[in-house]
Every structure is written in C-alpha cells, then in structure tokens.
Chain length 424, copies 2
C-alpha cells in the first residue's frame, strides 16, 4: 500500500497536533533520519492569530489555513494522518485514534488548548469562542444574520440586542476583535445597512483584570485602552461576567447588557489527553521536565499550550503563545534526535521576542525586546510579521492584497453567510 521506502532501523516519531508546535517539531525532525507521522483532526494548519480577521470578514478562511500535506510535500519521511486522538497507551507505546491505533518510538503531544468557559460552561453553547476556523465562520455568519434580523426588528430594544456585540476577555484576541468590529461599524456597516442606525450599535469589551492586555506591559495596556476608546469601544476592566441567558449578560456589579452576540475570549485551558491521568489533571496542563519530556515518561514529549514546563523566569509555565510552541517544537525535535543518538538532552529556554496586538486599521501595540511602542509603525510591523508568518506564497500574496484593499478602501470585502449559524 505504501510507496514510501522504509528503513527498518529508523525510529518512528508520532506527533499529535499540527498547530504551531507540532508543525515546527515535524519540520525539524524531517531533516533527520527518522520517520515522522503527524496526526491532526483537520487536514490543515490554522494560523490562529488571524482568526479574528476571518470572523470580521477581513480575510477568507483559505488564507489563514494551509493543508498539512502541502507543508510536507518535499519531505518524504513525514506522513500525515487525519484523525482525532482518543487516548495514549504508554505501556504499549501506542495511541488510539478515531481511525486506528498507531505505534511510536517517540511521541510528541502538541494538542493545544480549548476555550475555557469557567463557570459559564453550562451556557457555553450560547457563547461564541474563537479557536478554530469553524468558530470564525460561525461568528461571521452570526454577526451578519443578526444584522439582517435587525432590519426587521419591531422595536429599538430588540434591534439593539441584535446588533450589540459583547466581548468577554480583553487579551489580544478580544482586543483585536473589538478593534476590527469598531472599524466595521464605522466604515462598512453604514454603507451596507442604510436602514439601520449604526450609532446605536454598541461594542462592549469586559475584562476581569485591572487592564486590557494583562499579559503585556502597562504601557501597551494604556495605549491599547486609548485606541479602543477612540474607536468607541465601551471598555470595562475589573468587571466579572456572572451570567448569560442567551439574551442578557450580567456583570458582578449588577450591570446588564442585552446582546444576542457574546464572544468569549476570556481564557483557554489545556485539552485533556486520555491515558495520562497519572500526571494530567482535568483541564490542567501536562507537566513536563526541563527537557520537555512528560514527567514520568522516557519517550513522551509535550509542547505548546498543553505543556507545563517550568523555567526559572516562568515558574508557572510559559505563556500560551505561538512563539513558545514553535521554540518548544524545535527543541523537542532536537532532544528526540539527541536521545536517539544517545546524546545528552538539553533544557528548554524560552527566548522571548515580545508580544504585539493590533487595534483597528492602523494602530498596534508592541512589547518587543528592543522597546515598547505603539501607533502606526507598530501596526506596520505587526502586519508584515503576520504576512511573513503565513504559510505559502499564495496566502501571503492574497492576504497582502486583501489588507491593502481594506486599508485603502476603508472596507472589508467579505460578509457572506455561507452556512447560517444555528445556536445549540
């Protein structure tokens, strides 16, 4: 069945998850004399930092998702399997998946994270998360559907509930979404919905911590707050959401907001891996040692959002960010190769190159190793880094054109409801 030339002595490395971490590990290992199998439930890699652009109609999904098989076209020692992990069976060196069992010599767990709804878990079906391409398309559909419904609304209150958008959680995703929605409200929606009074659309951004972008510097937070306010986003920090019934969101201070659209970007949690319950607690990250091996296992590595690696400067684990996942992916690959060759394993050290977030059409904030700054320059840097990081020449080009188009026309091109979203 297989046309691959197999070298019996080659070790087989199984990588679960084709996110930033898994992809980096597979690329690094593809240069070694090993056989790699990469498993993902989707046949594509998702460039998660730009999901908010798909959700707000700035980019089409095909620009930020890339088929995994295409990444490894010229790396014949890498196979891909579209399958969902069901359990790891460490005693037999194999995993159980939705399609069949697969054995490994070394396992890399890179399954990432899920939205964390905390106490909102019972109403999670009424909230819109933003972790997958499907989430982004659902959000795009819901926003457009609600605008269409608003044109038919009988009274002002009903209409406002349809067009208001609430975002819970002001991390980078929440802030970027709020900015993009505010730009849409100003430049796009009045043209497409002349029958609606868009000054009545409110965009709320609620954050439990004392400032937006709590993981960034205070300078960045202050600048981001200024940009958001200038865009007309109603920002509330130190505000805890306490309930949502599908129509009204309640805050701890008693405030009530009517909105059919509540976007949940308040947190993520590790995606539990069955079979490792001896080391992994429900919803918690998988503890790994300094070499990125899961504690207690010789040949199982974990990287990215799922992994809890402690390092002196990160006693509570690394932030759940793509640069961490990419560096850990490369590091795990290096250590696996060292282990195969009987060499010493090295501890992982995160090289923090900084964090950025964009707010609206030409503002961004950046905490970079060489300085903290904001404004239009930061936005240009943000844009070029993101275009540069997309996989594939076509995606880079199409994204660049899309953004240039949006930038010069003050428009967003895409507002299709291809699959109407039906709330669960």
């Amino acid at each position: 069945m297989s046309t691959r030339n197999t070298d019996e002595s080659r070790k087989h490395i199984l990588i679960i998850g084709a996110g930033f971490g898994g992809l980096a590990a597979a690329k690094a290992l593809s240069k070694r004399n090993v056989h790699v199998t990469l498993v993902d439930r989707n046949n594509y890699h998702t460039f998660q930092p730009l999901l908010y652009q798909v959700a707000t109609g700035g980019l089409e999904p095909d620009s930020i998702a890339y088929p995994v098989r295409r990444v490894f076209r010229r790396r014949r020692n890498v196979s891909f399997r579209m399958a969902e992990l069901q359990a790891v069976i460490p005693s037999q060196h194999k995993i159980r998946t939705s399609i069949r069992d697969m054995t490994y010599d070394y396992l890399v767990i890179a399954t990432g994270s899920l939205p964390n709804f905390y106490s909102f878990e019972p109403v999670a079906g009424k909230l819109m998360p933003l972790k997958t391409v499907t989430d982004a398309l659902n959000m795009r559909s819901l926003i457009m559907q609600n605008l269409e419904s608003a044109t038919l609304a009988e009274d002002a209150e009903e209409q406002e509930a349809l067009i208001n958008v609430v975002i819970v959680g002001a991390g980078p995703t929440g802030v970027e979404l709020a900015g993009a929605l505010a730009e849409m409200r100003r430049h796009v929606l009045p043209k497409d919905f002349p029958e609606l009074d868009m000054t009545r659309m409110h965009i709320y951004l609620f954050e439990g911590a004392g400032r937006v972008l709590p993981a960034m510097s205070k300078t960045a937070s202050r600048k981001a707050e200024r940009y958001l306010k200038r865009l007309g986003v109603i920002l509330k920090v130190n505000s805890q959401a306490t309930g949502y019934d599908g129509a009204t969101l309640t805050l701890a201070d008693g405030t009530e907001v009517n909105s059919e659209t509540v976007i949940w970007t308040a947190g993520v949690q590790a995606d539990t891996v069955a079979g490792l319950s001896d080391v992994m607690k429900q919803g918690m990250r998988l503890p790994v040692d300094a070499t990125l091996r899961v504690k207690g296992y010789e040949n199982i590595y974990a990287i990215g959002d799922i992994a809890l690696a402690s390092e002196e400067s990160f006693p509570d684990g690394h932030p759940m960010l793509s640069p961490v996942a990419i560096q850990q992916g490369r590091h795990a690959a290096r250590n696996i190769w060292n282990q195969i060759r009987g060499r010493e394993l090295h501890p992982f050290r995160y090289r923090d190159k900084g964090v950025m977030a964009t707010i609206g059409r030409n503002r961004a904030v950046a905490d970079l190793s060489f300085g903290k700054f904001g404004g239009t320059l930061a936005w240009f840097i943000w844009m070029f880094i993101h275009i540069w990081s997309l996989i594939g020449f076509r995606n880079k080009l199409v994204t660049f054109i899309g953004w240039a188009y949006n930038y010069f026309t003050y428009d967003r091109a895409l507002g299709l409801i291809i699959r109407p979203y039906r709330r669960s």
Copy 2:
C-alpha cells in the same frame, strides 16, 4: 426605522432571487423612480459558472460569491431582504416569506432552478449536485475526505471506490469538473498523497445523449471529447445511469462502477413557486408571454431559468443560461417601467452571443457568433470573460492571481476540509 426617503407615488417592485436575472432587473430598475426590494434566501449572489472551481480547490468561495447589499450600496432605492419565498398570493398583490409578508405593485420571479435528479430522486442524498456554494464546499470536502480515507483502505477495491469519481451529465458543468479533476489527479494529488497510486484513480463522465456538451455545436463536442480523452477521463456517451446504492453506480448496459463520489450534473428543473399552480405545473417552468409577464397576470413577470418564454427561434423556451437571465432581467425592468408610464410593452428577443466551456488548464471550446473554435485561445477568452464578469474589483484581482498561480505552478492551492461532509 427606515432612513430611506419615501415618495408615496413611487411604485414598489419586488424581485425574488438575486441570481443573474434578479440582479440585472434590480440594477436596471434602480435607475428609475421606483422602489425595489430584492429578496434572496442567501445574502450573496453566486457566480454559478465558477462553482466547479470552488469544488476542485481552484478558487475560494469568497471570490465567486458577492454580498447583495454591496452591489446596491449606491442605489438607495433598492432594499435587500434575506428571506425565503413561501408563496405568491396574486389576489392580494403580496408574497409570503420566511420572515414576513411583503406587498408589491409589480413582482419579478427570478427564483432559478434546482438539480433535477429524475428517477434518482430517492437516492438524491447520496449524489453530489453543484448548484450552490454549499454544494461546492461539500464536494471539495468529500473528495478530500475520501482521499484521506483511501490512505487507510485495506484493499485495492475499497481504495479505488474511495478515489474514483463519477460525473453523470456532460453539459458544461460536468465537462468542466471532469477537466479540473483530471488536472488535479495529474499535477496536485500525486504530490499531496505520495502513498496513493493516482494512476488507479478513475474519472468517469457519463452522458445520456450521443455527445458531450449536447447543447453546443458538433465541432465543440468533438473537440471537447478529444481534450477530455487526452486528460484521461473515461467518457461514455449514450449511457443512461439506472441506479446507485451509495457504493455502486449501474448503467443501462449493465456496466457497474464502484465509487463513493457520484456528482450529478445531469439536469436542472424549475424551482416550483407556490401560489401559481393555475399556470405552473410541478417541476415545469412558469409560462410567460412575449413581454415576460406570467400568463394570466398583469403585474407578475418571470425571468431566467424559471421562465418559459417562447420565441420563434426558441419554441421550447430559452436555454437555462446566465446570458438569457441577464437579458430577460433587463427586459422585464424596461417593460415594468413602460407599464408604469402607460407605454407599450415590447416582446423579448434573445441575442445569443454564444456559449463556451473550458476543459482542463488551458483548453476550451467556444461557439461564438463570429465562429466556432477551441484550444488555448478559447481558454484565454473564456478566462478573461469570466474574470471580467465577476462582481467587485477585489474578486477579479484575487481570482486572476489564483488562476495565474495555478497556471504557472500546475497546482491548486486549496484543499481544506473546513466542514466535513456527512452524507444524508
């Protein structure tokens, strides 16, 4: 609620369907002192001639679909409503829709056509039609899912059933799909699925008539057959499909073909309009007089695929093609305005500018008013006409880049299974 300035004396024209016909009628009427409401179940217009490109990963859906509201941004006398027609109630000059009733002074029915499964109606859920963006995305997902499954197949027969594709109906859609799939098989799939032997993938094209493209000239058919054979498509004319059980397709001559993917492009039928049963028979087109008014009604027009207009050179009605719909849309708009102004109505005359079909990456056939020809020149003309016809600068540009990319790299960029297709 409405910011529109209303002139009570203005007539209200209701157009149902934002396909080629409805859009053309609305554009023409937007220049008159009337109020137009355009209704469609989707919030976008679909450029149907390029659906096969979406189905085979050559274009993203956002390039061939365009939000209706954007088309009419600068035409303030045109409103849009996303709604599904439920019935026409001519006696009350109103229609019933999924959202609410709407009244009209003049009604234009432009609801188009549906796939016609003929005797295959009972197994329609197992067949893949290609009339909507959703159909195209389902087809793209199914083909990619079956290829993924084929990498796991236990035996050669099972594997072939997964990768074989059968197309029933060799009109333009069937021929264009067969060509695009054959190019994929040759240039794309061997790179993405090195573990599969793509020479074992068969692409069948079955046609009940005696030649492919039966609506075109014999010259075009002969050329198209030659191009298809050169691409390795297994072509059978005069062959009637008689049954499909989800795994095996049977032909009238007893031939059996195993395939999980049966694409149905064998015919279309008018989409029945409730409330007009006095003139419309189930599955038949709506008879209109020479002025395009539905027979027996003073103020109801029908255009495009749904309308059966008889003209001397088209005694059985016009072909179900976009140029007919566009010309009828403009003509109906002109006649409605004449009717409002108390002027004489004019009979519709179809100006046939010709038909084209493309086969593979650089071959097409064209029956144009000034000549019948084929080959690469026809393909270039086909390509420029199609890019020119797309709505919106962004779509034209992105489509051009996509095609240039595919042309020079022999590749197709998109193979994402964003929503897995589950057979009903």
